[in-house]
Point group: C2
Chain length 368, copies 2
Amino acid sequence: MTTALLPEGLRDRLPPQADAAAAILRAALDAIRAHGYERVAPPLAEYEESLVGRLKTSAARDLLRVADPLSQRTLALRPDITTQVGRIAATRLAHRPRPLRLSYGGPVMKLRASQLRPEREMTQIGAELVGRDSATAAAEIVALAVEALAATGATGITVDLTLPDLVDTLAAGPLPLRPSQAAQVRALLDAKDAGGLAASGAASYLPLIEAAGPFADALERLRAFDTNGILDRRLAALETIATRLEGMAEVTLDPTERHGFEYQSWLGFSLFADGLTGEIGRGGTYTILHEDGHEEPAVGFSIYPDPLLDVRADEQPSRRLFLPLGHDPDLAARLRGEGWVTVAALDERCDGAGCTHHLVAGEVQPPT
Amino acid sequence: MTTALLPEGLRDRLPPQADAAAAILRAALDAIRAHGYERVAPPLAEYEESLVGRLKTSAARDLLRVADPLSQRTLALRPDITTQVGRIAATRLAHRPRPLRLSYGGPVMKLRASQLRPEREMTQIGAELVGRDSATAAAEIVALAVEALAATGATGITVDLTLPDLVDTLAAGPLPLRPSQAAQVRALLDAKDAGGLAASGAASYLPLIEAAGPFADALERLRAFDTNGILDRRLAALETIATRLEGMAEVTLDPTERHGFEYQSWLGFSLFADGLTGEIGRGGTYTILHEDGHEEPAVGFSIYPDPLLDVRADEQPSRRLFLPLGHDPDLAARLRGEGWVTVAALDERCDGAGCTHHLVAGEVQPPT
């Protein structure tokens, strides 16, 4: 029947998945909150032009638009919360001392689903550290992303680090490129196209293709490549981050990976976990544009945790205690206080189906 | 600057209100969950025609519409989650045994704000007990509404009970009215217009105006009015509910109040709390229409908790512990496990401003 059909990419979450989704959101935000990040909650929709002004070009093409008879303007549903948090940091919280630690969690909506993510409505959770983008600040954010992800039950977490402005840095220094050539070299490095690089007269960039993989080895190759020491500070920062992640996550380095990091400054990272296809989150350093035109450094991450619902180890089914007609309500309240979920009989027909335990003569018992 | 302005009725929640809003949502849903209600999470938007088909007429006029190039159809943002839960109960969960206990919590969006509620995006939290609308089922739901509301920190809770189909019941029995007259009598009773009632030849309904107020007295007057005993079961059900609420909430009775309860069956109720203008929640009995045309009884409630943010006693400011450069990360993790919020220094400039405590030589100390 038509009324039961939902639009493509939108769906109902049923028990027990809806409870699990709420538990994931809570666990991640609790982990983030414990590190001093304060919650902000921007609205689900804003003026389209306001969102477009702050979004990356690609995301601005992907907005669901809302006609608003009240303002007689077009609103758009937020496809991303990070940009809203940037707006808040640059306006209403511009007066707050830096570093400013903010967190958020809630739904976002996109016009189109992607191949990896068939959903158009998804949960986004994240944290932004505003006013710093140092190695220490970046290490705090990357480690916090891993801790938040681990709190949701994800296992086998891998962090892939990248240096989004690496080619620009080298091209402006020891390995000069013409502007048109730089774009080509970036594309060839993205594609790991060694032959193309050599043919395009940028053979000096070839070693970067090999400087990818498990962190320690990749870093060593990158250091050997950086004979001028122009990357010294970057490499030291990467080491600070990798050291912080010891025992928390596997770390890999793919220094020239730029896909999706076009708006990051010196650092980008992707998060992966066991059992998931594709990344579960990402982050990096960036700048926030203030109203007076000045730019402020920031570093942050976002997790899109919905796919975790399919890979988390099966939850322990909750202990559901059946309360027969005429039970003692004070005892029931006490048992709820101890963590029991109680299900009260409403009439003689109720027999406690679906309950793991029954309350019999004031005693909790397994069902007979 | 234009980009900082939000549309009317939409706003950013900042610290500490955003954290408090999340805590309210969590507390209410935890209280509901402990009584065996399982979470469902319908999408933020559905096909407009599907939402309109299930919404009350008035709510259907109040939809924010979304153009969806993907389906080439019009979607609408949900103005209410209850109707979505009804859809789920009637379709994907139609096979689940009854009574079925479901809960939900999340944002809803309306085209227009109301005078009492200037927000167009608001949080809705609720529970639905599907398959029963008995006195016991209603008492469970009303008591659960009060418990959930109390869990959010609301105090001085009052429940106002009403009997939405009272006039219809009387008109079909001992106090016959013509159909056109019945509508007029309902309106006059809503307006407590004694003169109008007498003038319209419905003086026999006059005692109902007096049968309102604190529960015990109002019930007594209603019982004295019901000389034929035709309301016996209703009055007994109201007593069951009021008895359940003893020690939890003040109870009042306004048997002819119909405003906003047009789609409730025998019971409606409104929730009030200290310091709030207008009701903070409402609920009642109703029927869910299944795909094969049969109707199923249900009882439920919704709370719209956002105004509580303005009246809750000031939160204890969280204990924020400043961690200097070079602190012991294991100790910091242990302190977070004990409930501390930690704020790590990022550089020499960080001086722990905004922190209530400092970690000095491995010891937690008040700031100097």
